[in-house]
Symmetry: C2
Subunit: 304 residues, 2 copies
């Protein structure tokens, strides 16, 4: 690794540790009533996860701040927003793992929430994490008008025109032949909406101009697709221990994937192409876009 | 009925029709992708329901406006807020009815969402309705600072210190001996938090002073308890056709209820006492609190 890439890897490690401690502090303590629910919420959110969404949010914030230090209020707000997107992501995993959905027993190398607790608790964990995300956005010490924008962005990213909508299309398409456009649309919602939303939120909190928002939004869209293609590739090239979840599951479940549609080489080529587009997209941000650059490399190159 | 009570009954009918048409308009159309999810969301929200929460929200707004007509922006905002609380209520019913929770097949006299569609769709319906509620709050044409307050109130009412927390305590207490304090605490969260939140939201949107908010909040708390006591009474005194859901279910499931703890007469007495407290609470609002008065009578006296 070059010195720069070591610095970037250190930055990511420090951001991951940072968001973990923020989540640890902000989540309801396990001794607060209802204890079992709070314990399960902490189990679902803490202790692992790549924290890609939080990292993208922080990186977008840095890109917009153009090298100047964030105010204390901005820093606190970025923390709340990053924690909020991680809540939405964590809740979606808990619900996706339930028997009526993917019926998965392993997540981040540990029993899924409904296995460690029970199904009803897993359902309620998801149901409680979602409003908590909006509560945290509303607690950001920024101008109320920015909070309103942030709530709108996160709500749309999470809802039926975003993540949950993509999940619904995914459920409906099991066993069906999806063409590339339909697959792309599904992933744009299922994975892309929240990744893009995280990046845009970082920009909003840091006071992005409308042209900066536009760059962040388009870059976010590409990252969403890139993330999913790499996920599909890893599903067939990696093993369960490395992934921390069941490998080969999409294939076994007859789910449409990029690899199924394009072949492994075709999927890798499409990913490389997206990666290049994303790098070009960031050019106007100059040096301050360095962490977004690094995360783009990280997302398409990750092995788990 | 007296002329006044006929007027009030007409007011309630008109408000119920009004919120139904607002929800009908605001919900994603069934031909928008993902169609099946949107169809199921509409099935879950539209076509029935007493709309008590929306009515309380409108009544609280009227109480704060003190007889003056709302501005167009206030009226629109009250509509959005009322629709938002109905979404949260509707989602909670969809998830509560699932096999891993109450496993109920009948709701408002129709098959529950997971019966009419499937379990995965029912889960996703709930997951999509929740962020939509916050999206609608963020769309209210009022001062952003009021939106931020509204988001906070609804998020807390819906989350682990509110409705979902109460549901978790309820799940954990099946088959256990709960004393009256514990039962009360559970219902304060499970049913009370959102009823109270609806009333407070109506006040916030209409520009309530802090003393008005205090009245609305305490009145809301009493209504939450009163609503649940009457629910428990109806569970043993009414039939499934009248209720539109399975009667006698709490008793059969060995769930703690007011009737189980206080007996039928004891529960009725406690309800009458709460009702009287609630009426006294509204006194400072004078004539403009008339619809809240009426709804208090309605809630404790309802037969379904």
């Amino acid at each position: 690794m070059t010195v720069a890439s070591i610095d970037h890897a250190n930055w990511l490690t420090s951001r991951v540790e940072h968001i973990e401690s923020i989540l640890e502090t902000l989540l309801p303590a396990p001794d607060v009533v209802p204890q079992r629910l709070h314990e399960a919420m902490r189990y679902a959110v803490l202790g692992g996860g790549k924290r890609v969404r939080a990292a993208l949010l922080f990186a977008a914030g840095e890109a917009v701040l153009q090298g100047s230090a964030p105010s204390m209020a901005q820093e606190k707000s970025l923390n709340y927003a990053a924690a909020a997107v991680e809540l939405i992501h964590a809740y979606s995993l808990v619900h996706d793992d339930l028997p009526c959905m993917d019926d998965d027993i392993l997540r981040r190398g540990r029993p899924t929430v409904h296995v460690a607790f029970d199904e009803a608790t897993a359902m309620l964990v998801g149901d409680a994490l979602q409003p908590l995300a909006f509560e945290w956005l509303a607690a950001m010490p920024v101008a109320p008008a920015l909070i309103v924008q942030a709530v709108t962005v996160l709500a749309k990213a999470a809802g039926s025109s975003g993540m949950v909508g993509g999940q619904a299309i995914d459920c409906d398409s099991v066993g069906k032949d999806l063409n590339l456009d339909a697959l792309q649309h599904m992933h744009k919602l299922k994975t892309g909406a929240l990744l893009k939303g995280s990046i845009v939120l970082g920009g909003i909190v840091a006071g992005a101009s409308s042209s900066q928002r536009q760059i962040l939004s388009e870059f976010g869209e590409l990252m969403g697709l890139g993330f999913q293609i790499q996920d599909d590739i890893l599903d067939v090239t990696s093993d369960s221990t490395t992934l921390g979840k069941t490998a080969g599951k999409d294939l076994a479940d007859n789910k449409p994937t990029y690899v199924a549609l394009l072949g492994l080489e075709g999927a890798r080529q499409r990913l490389a192409q997206l990666h290049e587009e994303a790098r070009l997209m960031l050019r106007p941000l100059g040096q301050s876009g360095q962490y977004l650059h690094y995360l783009a490399d990280y997302i398409v190159g990750r092995t788990y």
